[in-house]
């Protein structure tokens, strides 16, 4: 307390109540910040225990020989060195890249098209929005099983319909007949399931563009295409960035659709990277190797996201 006494003796009297009020205010702010931290504590515990801890653990696992049962032993470069020898990793990386590019282009085009189709209030727009979004209410694993039946020769109508118009004959297996048809089946499934969700995000972006901007473009005599090119696209950039990030990340991490619909086949031609990780961990029972592939995948995704954010930030400023 000596400092307070000294200061109060140097200052004229009226400073006293003000200092006291400030101190009490400081105390209240400190207490309020403690209360805030208390409300945030459950979040911190959840994020710490179930996100940060496993993230550190997976890095530690990747530098150990870590069998599913039994004690781990340190083996630093081995798990990473073995990634290069794993032939399945090579083909899975290539396949996942191909799938990501194809899927992102098709899904983006379809979702943007749907959003443009239903952006204005007209008759039946509510029904269309619901119809496009409804597949989202079906779980992705269920949707994969739905398409397994839909595309099957046993009970599915697709092969029958194509046979009736003479496009195919005999028994057709869409989901495991050839690598191209297996990939195609999966892409149709993902388009059906996720187009409406992405449409909804882009719809919110479209509706955030003020009507006045369109009116100004119309008064300036801009054609429909010019309006789209010069007004809609630039103003949609943040939304487009969000949607593309979601699509790319989602495709790189694809698992359910291949696990259920194609089982990675035929001949591992539709085996994605995450399927390889699962196989290393729970079929080959080698958690260390699975962790090493995971860490490598994580590093690539972080770099991609940082580059993407950097590019977008530079463009928008």
């Amino acid at each position: 307390m000596p400092t307070t006494v000294q200061r109060s003796s140097q200052r004229p009297l009226p400073a006293w109540p003000a200092a006291e009020a400030a101190r009490r205010k400081g105390g209240r702010a400190r207490r309020r910040s403690l209360v805030g931290a208390a409300y945030a504590a459950p979040t911190a515990v959840m994020v710490g225990l179930f996100f940060v801890a496993p993230l550190l653990l997976v890095v530690w696992m990747s530098v150990n020989r870590w069998p599913l049962l039994g004690a781990p032993t340190f083996n630093l470069p081995d798990n990473y060195a073995h990634i290069a020898d794993n032939q399945l990793v090579g083909s899975a990386v290539w396949f996942t890249l191909k799938y990501t590019v194809l899927m992102t282009v098709l899904l983006f085009s379809l979702a943007f098209g749907l959003a443009l189709l239903v952006q204005n209030r007209r008759r039946g727009v509510g029904f269309l929005r619901t119809a496009f979004f409804l597949p989202m209410a079906v779980g992705f694993a269920s949707a994969s099983l739905l398409f397994l039946g839909l595309l099957s020769d046993e009970i599915g109508p697709v092969s029958d319909a194509l046979r009736a118009i003479g496009l195919v004959d005999g028994y057709v297996s869409w989901t495991s007949g050839s690598s191209a048809s297996a990939l195609g089946s999966t892409m149709v499934l993902v388009l059906w399931r996720f187009a409406g969700f992405n449409m909804l995000i882009m719809l919110t972006g479209l509706q955030a563009i003020p009507v006045e901007v369109y009116e100004a473009a119309r008064i300036d005599g801009a054609s429909r295409w010019q309006t789209f090119r010069r007004v809609t696209l630039p103003l949609m950039r943040p939304t487009i960035a969000l949607v593309l990030t979601l699509m790319i990340t989602g495709s790189v991490l694809a698992f359910d659709q291949f696990w259920i619909l194609t089982r990675g086949g035929p001949d591992n031609s539709t085996t994605s990277l995450v399927m390889v990780i699962y196989r290393e961990a729970f079929i080959k029972l080698d958690l260390g190797s699975a962790a090493a592939i995971s860490v490598a995948l994580l590093a690539v995704l972080v770099v991609v996201n940082i580059v993407q954010l950097g590019v977008l930030r530079r463009r928008s400023s």
Binding site: F51, P54, P135, L145, L146
Partner: protein
């Protein structure tokens, strides 16, 4: 010209709507179709065949969904209140860290979580699975609830404090009713995600009596050597989808509104 574009819109819209609705309608039809017409035989096989759904699978699914929805609402409400209304040290860092969950591959942390939950004694446990699912819901839910709390006028909270409420009773009496649309959206998302989740239970649950319904239905496909019972499979798809479609139909308005107003702002 105007007529042509109107007709073009109608035809395109109708064709697309049919293409999106057809798989759903077909699965309902196929699940009821039997060799002799229509009936519930496929559903019969779904619940009685060797690799089918058992009552305890449904109980497991409901348990996980209930724990996940409750836990997500609890953590995200308290967290959203903290992030929307208070300043405290580490606030921005914790928020960014939570959002970073979205950037990390599911598989990456699940392998470590498999080991970690074993250390906690939560291996092959529905509680362990629910805790993990709550964590995966947090980025979206916290973001949503923070925006909801930020949107509540300050005067409302201040008037409660003048009336002698502390921050917790202000939260219960004044804030919670004001952020209800956000709560409904967060809860609905948490239910849909946990009811339908496949990858996390596949990794974290080992014994078939702990399986959720999704795992059990998928198991009918993956565990069958030889021929798949497609009709029973479609019955399983319908059984899984009906609760989600019903919830969706009841809550679509608040769901879409909550989504468009909260999730994508700021």
């Amino acid at each position: 010209m105007k007529f042509v574009s109107k007709a073009g819109y109608g035809v395109t819209g109708a064709a697309l709507a049919i293409m999106f609705l057809f798989p759903l309608l077909w699965s309902g039809w196929a699940s009821l179709r039997t060799s002799s017409g229509f009936g519930l035989e496929n559903y019969d096989r779904l619940f009685t065949s060797d690799n089918g759904i058992r009552p305890h699978h449904i109980v497991n699914s409901l348990t996980v969904s209930l724990l996940t929805v409750g836990g997500t609402l609890l953590v995200a409400t308290l967290g959203g209140y903290a992030f929307g209304r208070f300043r405290f040290p580490g606030r921005d860092a914790l928020f960014l860290l939570t959002l970073a969950i979205l950037m990390v591959p599911y598989a990456t942390i699940l392998i470590a979580l498999y080991v970690l939950l074993g250390w906690f004694g939560l291996q092959d446990s529905l509680i362990g699975l629910s805790l993990v699912l709550i964590m995966f819901q947090l980025p979206f839910s916290l973001f949503m609830m923070r925006n909801s709390f930020e949107a509540v006028p300050r005067e409302l909270e201040e008037s409660a404090q003048v009336d002698g409420c502390n921050s917790f009773s202000a939260l219960l009496r004044i804030m919670l009713p004001a952020v209800r649309p956000g709560l409904i959206t967060v809860g609905l998302f948490a239910f849909l995600a946990s009811w339908n989740e496949f990858f996390a239970p596949l990794i974290l649950l080992n014994s078939t009596d702990k399986f959720t319904t999704t795992l059990a239905v998928v198991n009918m496909r993956t565990a069958s050597h030889g021929s798949i019972d497609y009709a029973a499979l479609e019955a399983g798809v319908v059984f899984m989808a009906v609760p989600c479609l019903l919830l969706f139909a009841f809550m679509q308005r608040s769901y879409v509104r909550g989504f468009t107003s909260g999730a994508l702002k700021g």
